[in-house]
């Protein structure tokens, strides 16, 4: 019941945001549309970590591995095929295969949570160094030169499926990215409300109990990890579509850390939280970048400390608790029934 109500709310909210996305080009100038596009692409990335960390309990410090692999897979495939549709499919497929392999060895190998964080971080740094050292004509896949630290410029952006001659305009690319964000969000909402979703939350809560009930925690965690990889890879394709360019910095430490900060500040254990955290912080970093007085990383660090100390749950869960407390106070008789199933 409550879950259905929550889902109805999510659908109504998503419909409103979708209308805003589709009409934004009418009242927002092109520069801002471009800004919003990259924000939305990054928000999809934030969702990928928000899902596997917040619901699967897997703290992946190297979510950029899948993001970067997706971005490179898209770039290489789009250059070779001259069509974005199969390139997007590969941008999802390759990170999923990579996540399956990496996840299998970590999860079935019984690596503890802390080491999982360390290993995933290390993998992203290995990928960074690997791709960084692919300068020169020798390193190319088909027609696509990997370009080392210079990256790959001039990547074909999204075209209409089945019509590679019709390239999307920046406004259309914005609509696609924005709607993709909503669809990923809703897709995850449905997944979390499903039996699979409830089981992975149970495993996050108590792996021993889940196993003693007959669930194999390893396969559930691996699938969760792979879904996270798929979404991050898709975000990579959206990101390259925005800039028509990809370079090894996509794997760099700074972005890995930022994703985690987005999730912490927005609120772990929710889906809307990581999106809010991502949009808010990216907007802030952009604003800070427009002036010279303060360093963006300094501000980000300060915000993180303030949140960890004062708002440890993050924005979305804290707001939700405030609203719930308010509702409970207004209707004390039904307090018990209104505070259930608040997890989104």
């Amino acid at each position: 019941m409550h879950q259905l109500n929550g889902m109805t709310g999510a659908l109504i909210g998503s419909a409103i945001v979708a209308i805003a996305i589709l009409t934004a080009p009418l009242y927002v100038d092109l520069f801002q549309i471009m800004q919003l596009t990259v924000f939305a692409a990054m928000a999809v990335l934030a969702l990928s970590l928000g899902f596997i960390w917040g619901y699967g309990g897997i703290l992946c410090f190297g979510q950029t591995s899948f993001f970067g692999l997706g971005a490179y897979a898209y770039a290489v495939a789009a250059i070779n095929f001259g069509d974005s549709t199969p390139a997007i499919a590969l941008a999802i497929l390759i990170p999923v295969i990579f996540a399956a392999l990496l996840g299998y060895f970590m999860i079935y190998g019984g690596i503890s949570d802390v080491y999982l964080g360390v290993i995933t971080l290390t993998v992203s740094l290995i990928l960074f160094n690997l791709v960084n050292s692919t300068a020169g004509d020798f390193y190319k896949i088909g027609d696509a030169r990997l370009g080392g630290f210079n990256g790959i410029p001039g990547v074909p952006t999204f075209n209409l499926p089945g019509n590679s001659g019709y390239i999307l305009s920046p406004e259309q690319a914005w609509m696609v990215t924005g709607i993709a964000l909503i669809l990923v969000y809703l897709g995850l909402r449905v997944l979390i409300a499903s039996s699979f979703g409830r089981i992975i939350i149970a495993i996050r809560e108590n792996e021993t109990r889940a196993a003693l009930l007959g669930y194999d925690p390893r396969i559930y965690k691996l699938i969760t990890f792979m879904i996270g990889g798929a979404i991050a890879g898709f975000a990579g394709a959206l990101y390259v579509n925005w800039g028509a360019f990809v370079s090894p910095t996509i794997f760099a430490l700074g972005l890995s850390a930022q994703i985690i900060i987005w999730v912490i500040i927005g609120g772990r254990g929710t889906l809307i939280g990581p999106v809010i955290g991502c949009l808010l912080l990216q907007w802030l970093v952009t604003e800070i970048g427009a002036q010279q007085a303060l360093d963006a990383n300094f501000i980000l660090g300060a915000i993180l400390i303030v949140f960890v100390l004062l708002v440890p749950k993050g924005i979305a869960p804290t707001l939700r608790d405030l609203v719930m407390a308010r509702l409970a106070r207004d209707k004390p008789m039904t307090a018990d029934t209104t505070t259930v199933k608040v997890k989104t």
């Binding site: 108590n206 109990r209 889940a210 009930l213 194999d216």
Partner: protein, 240 residues
């Protein structure tokens, strides 16, 4: 002679130089109710962990209806029909009572049937009042009941209960004893407990563990009168 429901032979586990469970031969028949007692550190919980796959035996075997399950993983053993309430409650803290039971029921059943089964068990265990409360916010005794409910929702054929009455009020202890006898009408149980009053309420046959080995196994009245049992509980037999 029928194949027993559960049989361990020479079951042993060592941690470094400590032998926590030592050559235990334990047999449980279908639909039997057995109590397992012993002083702290006797190896009762470790024995349970060996039965459920949370620990792998150093030596010896566990057979469930003749099938060797020694060394199998916890989820595999659970799928064979073994359910356990652990000593320290293992529950899903951030989830509601209802969801805890539903997850357990869902393993064997469709979502809709799992919901029905959950409702039935909530009613049977008188947990309906707190069905929508988060388990993490409940008192210890209530958490014990939730975990028992979770075990029942998994519909195991063998139920292991590790200190089910711990932290309960006298009235709750009596209800737990009634519940165990009710469960025993259809399923076999092994119950670990310290509370002798509780043991007297439910027990027929009692196995006493001491320093990892079986000290005595007999009818409850005879076990409680046994001088050796009193010695190990009062600490006199520690040097033995």
């Amino acid at each position: 002679m029928n194949v027993p429901l559960l049989q361990t032979s020479g079951l042993t586990i060592r941690f470094g130089g400590v032998t926590a469970v030592d050559q235990v031969d334990f047999t449980l028949e279908e639909a039997e109710l057995r109590c397992l007692i012993g002083p702290n550190g006797a190896g009762k919980s470790t024995f349970f962990k060996l039965l459920t796959g949370q620990l792998r035996p150093t030596e010896g075997h566990v057979h469930l209806r003749g099938r060797d399950i020694s060394g199998a993983r916890p989820h595999e053993i659970a799928r064979q029909g073994v359910g356990i309430k652990t000593q320290v409650p293992n529950v899903f803290n951030a989830m509601t009572v209802q969801d805890n039971l539903w997850i357990a029921a869902r393993h064997k059943h469709t979502p809709a049937f799992a919901t029905d089964l959950t409702d039935k068990i909530l009613t049977d265990l008188r947990l309906t009042q707190i069905a929508n409360k988060e388990v993490g916010q409940l008192a210890h005794g209530q958490r014990q009941w939730v975990e028992i409910g979770t075990v029942l929702a998994g519909e195991p054929e063998l139920i292991l209960l590790d200190e089910p009455a711990a932290g309960m009020t006298h009235e709750e202890v009596e209800r737990t004893a009634d519940l165990i006898q009710e469960i025993n009408k259809s399923r076999a149980l092994v119950v670990v407990e310290h509370d002798m009053q509780f043991i007297k309420m439910i027990a027929k046959t009692v196995t006493v563990l001491h320093q990892g080995a079986v000290l005595i196994e007999d009818d409850v009245a005879r076990v409680l009168e046994d001088a050796r049992v009193r010695d190990v509980y009062l600490g006199k037999g520690l040097a033995a």
